[in-house]
Subunit: 260 residues, 4 copies
């Protein structure tokens, strides 16, 4: 693949506080709600996830929603709640950035900046994040080819930031049995092509709750450096993605089976 100058396949380890992600380091377990909905919700979630042994707390505060009339996230207020939960339970946090205008907030509060599927091709945003000293989790675009994804990561690297964690989250498929088609071959391919750590998001990758355990196992067997799963204290009342969110108990079962 031409146009790849920096991410040449040599192994890169990403540090997030005390965690080391990639290479032969232990697999990373990320969990949390699709959206931060209230302080109580995120504190409860953080407490349970910490007890389970989860490594990083996720939660959306600026939400890219297909409809302009859907819940758009708690924004700054939610970000502070997420930070508070992370501090209280000693968990690094990750949340999505959609708009450069919120970058300062992100730099102040979060440990990892997530670029979602809808922004993988947002090159101005990638260039900007190339200039910050903070790890970036780069999700694959909805129908991004391997080459496009590699070069999106290269945008970050070319502008100065090699602290990149890739995230396979399924691509658009032709069958609505699942929400997306999880492309696990992308795991070894992206590792080989870039050298970066890669995690898998089976929640968005399938959109089907009972598929999360087998797909987590498959992802780790394929060589993924970790997984990111949506967890909610009460999935049936979630403001977004309730259908694909696990309960604490369900996540604990996965963790016990896989985190060795």
């Amino acid at each position: 693949m031409k146009d790849k100058k920096i991410l040449n396949g040599q192994e890169i380890i990403v540090n997030v506080r005390n965690l080391k992600i990639g290479g032969k380091n232990p697999k990373i377990f990320i969990g949390g709600p699709c959206s931060v909905e209230s302080e109580k919700q995120i504190m409860t979630t953080a407490k349970h996830l910490k007890e389970i042994g989860v490594d990083i707390l996720r939660g959306g505060v600026f939400k890219p929603r297909t409809s302009p009339y859907a819940f758009q996230g708690l924004e700054e207020e939610g970000l502070k709640m997420l930070r508070k939960a992370g501090d209280e339970f000693d968990l690094p946090i990750i949340t999505e950035l959609m708009d450069e205008k919120n970058l300062d907030l992100m730099l102040e509060y979060t440990d990892i900046i997530q670029i979602g599927s809808r922004n993988m091709y947002n090159y101005p945003l990638l260039k900007t994040l190339g200039g910050v000293d903070k790890p970036v989790l780069l999700k694959r675009g909805m129908s991004a080819t391997i080459k496009e994804w590699v070069l999106a990561a290269e945008y970050l690297a070319a502008h100065g930031n090699k602290n990149i964690i890739l995230c396979e989250r399924g691509v658009r498929g032709f069958d609505n049995y699942t929400r997306n088609m999880l492309d696990l071959a992308a795991v070894p391919i992206m590792k080989k092509e870039t050298g970066l750590p890669i995690i898998v998001d089976p929640s968005h990758g399938t959109g089907v709750k009972w598929l999360i355990p087998p797909m987590t196992k498959a992802a780790l067997a394929a060589g993924a450096d970790g997984i990111m799963v949506e967890v909610h204290p009460n999935p049936s009342e979630a403001l977004s993605d309730g259908d694909q969110s696990l309960t604490f108990e369900e996540y604990e079962n996965i963790y016990k089976e896989c985190a060795k």
Copy 2:
């Protein structure tokens, strides 16, 4: 389709200077190079397109390129060249905005702001453009569903801007014979669902020069309100998309056959 409150299918006519786009108005012909490369290039192009009868001049100045090392456009300098060419030959101009930081430049110089495929899901940008008094051409995302595209337009409308021209430019397919798969059924569907005018871009929609004439005819027969085609004084020397760019003569032939 729920979540559609403003764009309800009632016909919307978009005004660009003296042009009226949509409804029973004459079909619109847009042409110009993928990238503005020099003053000479864009002036020559504008002169010829005006003579042919083309309605609007296109030219990229901020270019979303897959590789960070590819030519990224002439930026502000190119935008001024494009404006100068438009003024000299009395052609409204259209160019792509990728980054809100360039919005003021756009508002000053261009007649239509293009949102490219890579930014159809860039909701913060759509919200911002909802607040401006300038027509927006909204291209379909690379694998956007009808619903996602409708709701991207609804983002603009919900934030105040109904001067929207849709643009079908092909979706990601499984066959590399063409660059994309041109989905002409989207033309009548989007008109019915939103009421907005819609044009077709057979240059990106096929990526194959000799397919542009038949696909232009098919697009107009399907009900498209116009077409947008890449034209270059010397396609073999173009800095981007040379393979799919027409010569002036080739565009003139299409225009003569179709603009009745």
Copy 3:
């Protein structure tokens, strides 16, 4: 494209009784029900289609159904009804062959043998049909690439039969707004690559009734040599594909607008 020895792009005209299909000959209109359901149904349909000016009568008698428990067609009995209707109203007939065991019946009764999407890759069947003296309508496979489709036609030609009419009927897409994604660029591509006549089936290509008129116009504008549409005396009572079947009046309107 290598492996193409016989179908090299030189124009081929297919004769079906008095009709000539392809080249500069008039566009062909094919119509009829998804399934032959009764003598009355097919006779009524044939009568109306003849009055409208339609050229060829279609009707399924051996039906490839996704479910083993769905109506599988009237088989030999239906074929005889179709023949009777064709004779009574002087219309050539076309029906689908799925199984070589029914070839003798086909040779006796039908004018054109249809190979459906599900059998485009059925090479033994194609080889057999290469040896018969009867035109074959070869539908595109559900997600067949251009190359695969060209070479499926080449199978027929390599075994002796160049009387081939191609039929674009949409490919599998990612959006369930339509049943398939109609790929009209395939029309000029297949003509150029093979020289064969090609028709379009907007009924299966969209699966949406109101999209059939605009897609028929677009197909003919793209250079198609004809169209094939599902028509039923009473679509709401059809045993298969009722949702995408036109009434006689609806087909008449299309015919009047397009058959010039």
Copy 4:
């Protein structure tokens, strides 16, 4: 899913000679060349695979090739070679049936009848195989939905044969980095929906040699009951699929890592 009466999710174990496939039985390893090319080739392969510990010998003798001019297989002669190799080294054999005319040969010589991707929708062939007393390996069609695949299996069951082994072999994707997109979520889905054993073919599922080991591990972790891999004594001289064929040593390494 309606139209599913027999394959209702209750676990089915398939017996092939002494092997039991499905449920809690040991994972099955199938290997062999894409095509049987000579007696020496298949005997050498069988010998090595037996030594490694592989369970079943595969080899194509009737080959569904995209081009009519490509090698079409050794047919009956090849089938006898495959049988001889199976007998000599005490390995059950599997080969593909494309044409009902060869069914008697298949019944005489093979232990498992394979229905390839191109014939998953060949309902007459499925009905016929519903009436035989021999296990059928049913590959997924190139872009078959879960529902279509389930109902293809139901065709076999509805006509009397429940000895079905499913095989996920990748679906058509949009990225040519791999030959197909391996859909491992289909493994737990098909097991749940049908109760049948399912194996994975990472050779066709990726078409990339070095991806076979990680995808084998992922497939087994997702719950697959076995794998089928192309192996050749000298991949660079294979008459078909050489690029994706493993050497004996490469297969042995996979076997050692996974067969526990």
